[in-house]
């Protein structure tokens, strides 16, 4: 393979993996902005999404129905998680809340082992997966799905936060929670909304990734951590920047894997996290201070 086609190939696979991280990273950013909590159980929502959709398809549902139901079920799981784990402890310190989310992620993994066992499962690609030749590189249709969905969600997010009333109210809660309360906006309701919506997005990420890399009870941990790195690279408060961060991490990983060794990709992305935290803790794309969603 020529060098430039290899580069394009690696770029494609980087964008694919980046788009998965992006979907989970958006969830991180929304939850962090609205509630101030770093939800380290975010990756587990992806795992639930993937495994539930596989079970639904095995039960005979068509793909589109399985995707929608699985996202809805995971949103309900997210809502339950907020009501039972985050809401009762909302007055605790932030480290306490983060540890609660870590605890929940371990519990979620345990539940997944009980239901689905430890065997990895796989999902059929969304459409016929014959590779497409493009500039001497090979592109899988499932990759196009994954990148396309991430871009679609990005535009949906921009529309939701800038054009809809609920989105604006959510932003208001982030910008000035006290004034939002005085307008009759209920921040607790908003926190519930944010966490269940992020859980749904996480589920979508899990479903999209399972035809590519399979689904198992422990897939959430790595996905969650990588998405967290992406969110930090983007500065943690800005959704478009987090998506950009996700693509940076994805491309970095795929190039490390292709040009160096696949064992080194985690080293590179976590080194990136440390590097950002040491050098530019406000994120790579941070402008002047001020919160944005």
């Amino acid at each position: 393979m020529e060098v430039h086609s290899q580069v394009i190939q690696l770029l494609f696979s980087g964008l694919t993996i980046g788009s998965i991280y992006a979907l989970i990273a958006i969830g991180f950013v929304i939850i962090y902005n609205v509630t101030g909590v770093l939800n380290l159980a975010q990756g587990e929502f992806a795992m639930f999404g993937a495994l539930i959709s596989i079970s639904l398809i095995n039960a005979g549902l068509p793909l589109w129905a399985a995707v929608i139901f699985s996202m809805l079920i995971v949103s309900v799981i997210g809502a339950l998680f907020e009501r039972t784990a985050i809401h009762p402890a909302r007055k605790s310190s932030v480290p306490t809340l983060i540890i609660i989310t870590i605890g929940c992620s371990i519990a979620f993994r345990g539940i997944a082992i009980l239901i689905w066992g430890t065997q990895p499962q796989s999902l059929q690609p969304f459409t016929d997966n014959t590779p497409i030749k493009f500039l001497n590189a090979v592109l899988l249709p499932q990759s196009i799905w994954s990148i396309g969905i991430a871009i679609l969600i990005l535009f949906a997010m921009i529309y939701f936060f800038n054009k809809t009333f609920v989105g604006k109210a959510l932003t208001a809660c982030v910008v000035n929670p006290f004034a939002a309360r005085l307008m009759g906006i209920n921040p607790e309701k908003m926190s519930l909304l944010a966490i269940s919506a992020s859980a749904g997005l996480g589920a979508l990420a899990g479903i999209v990734t399972s035809p590519i890399s399979g689904a198992s009870y422990d897939m959430g941990m790595m996905l969650g951590l990588k998405a967290f790195v992406a969110a930090v690279v983007g500065g943690l408060t800005n959704a478009p920047a987090a998506i950009a961060g996700a693509f940076v991490i994805g491309i970095l990983e795929s190039f490390t894997e292709g040009l160096w060794s696949s064992g080194a990709k985690d080293v590179v992305s976590f080194s990136m996290l440390l590097l950002i935290l040491f050098i530019k803790p406000e994120g790579l794309f941070a402008k002047a201070s001020g919160k944005r969603v």
């Binding site: 009333f165 109210a169 208001a172 005085l182 307008m183 009759g184």
Partner: protein, 259 residues
């Protein structure tokens, strides 16, 4: 309209309001004045449902609202324009105003647009900057935005916490005129909390002076402006008793004990 009986509010262990009795009639503009730390903001916060009182009752239109939280009180028609304006700084002026109508956006979407136009009409200065983020406005404009946002909730009782804070005297005058107009033309009941005694009493029908969590004097604005007790509540009891350590002419040697 609004009746407050023996209201006690605490911040943690701090006993802030120590038995407030207050009655506000419909269509009145009542000023509550007092020095720093007298409990003015806490009183408004308690009326708005931000803080829950430990004792006493608040009755609004023959209905007890003492323990209703702010989310229930706003739809009933009591709205607080908070101290330091607290606008949504990264959101546009237009959306700031519309968010004021949050509690009724599902019920009457149509009237919201009309109310929005009315509010913009009322504050011509905001009209030119509807698409600008609220944080880029000047202090006076932000205050007008905060009042406009409060009005979008369609309150029957509008409460304002120190709208004159940090503003030039001319703008303070403008804002006070707007409040008077709201009261006279739209019949909105207004409770105005101020440190700026003169500006507040000039427009108010009635006033009361708060000191150490209690109402010490109340009466019509004219009475209060000439009442020596008001001075007392503001500056402490007769200034002869308090020793003034500075400006005595002699240089005082301080800190000897430490050496």
């Amino acid at each position: 309209m609004l009746k407050v009986n023996n209201l006690h509010t605490y911040h943690g262990f701090l006993h802030v309001l120590k038995g407030i009795d207050l009655e506000v009639l419909e269509g009145e503009l009542v000023a509550i004045v007092g020095s720093n730390g007298s409990g003015k903001s806490t009183l408004l916060g308690t009326l708005a449902g931000v803080y829950l009182p430990k004792e006493g009752s608040i009755i609004y239109k023959d209905e007890e609202i003492t323990n209703d939280g702010v989310q229930m009180i706003v739809p009933k028609g009591i709205c607080l324009v908070p101290e330091r304006r607290q606008i949504f700084s990264s959101i546009t002026v237009k959306d700031n105003l519309l968010l004021g109508a949050y509690h009724r956006y599902q019920k009457d979407k149509k009237t919201i647009n009309k109310d929005y136009e009315d509010v913009v009409e009322m504050f011509p200065r905001l009209k030119q900057m509807l698409d600008r983020p609220g944080g880029l406005l000047s202090g006076g404009e932000q205050q007008m935005l905060a009042i406009g946002r409060g009005l979008m909730a369609k309150p029957k009782v509008l409460m304002l916490d120190e709208p004159s804070l940090g503003l030039a005297p001319l703008i303070v005058k403008d804002i006070m005129m707007i409040l008077r107009k709201l009261c006279d033309e739209m019949g909105t009941t207004i409770i105005l909390v101020e440190q700026n005694l003169k500006a507040a009493l000039k427009v108010a029908d009635r006033g009361c002076v708060l000191a150490h969590g209690k109402i010490v004097v109340s009466g019509t604005s004219q009475e209060l402006l000439h009442n020596p007790k008001v001075q007392e509540a503001y500056f402490g009891k007769s200034s002869k008793k308090t020793e003034v350590p500075f400006n005595t002419g002699k240089k005082e040697v301080r800190g000897k004990k430490l050496i």
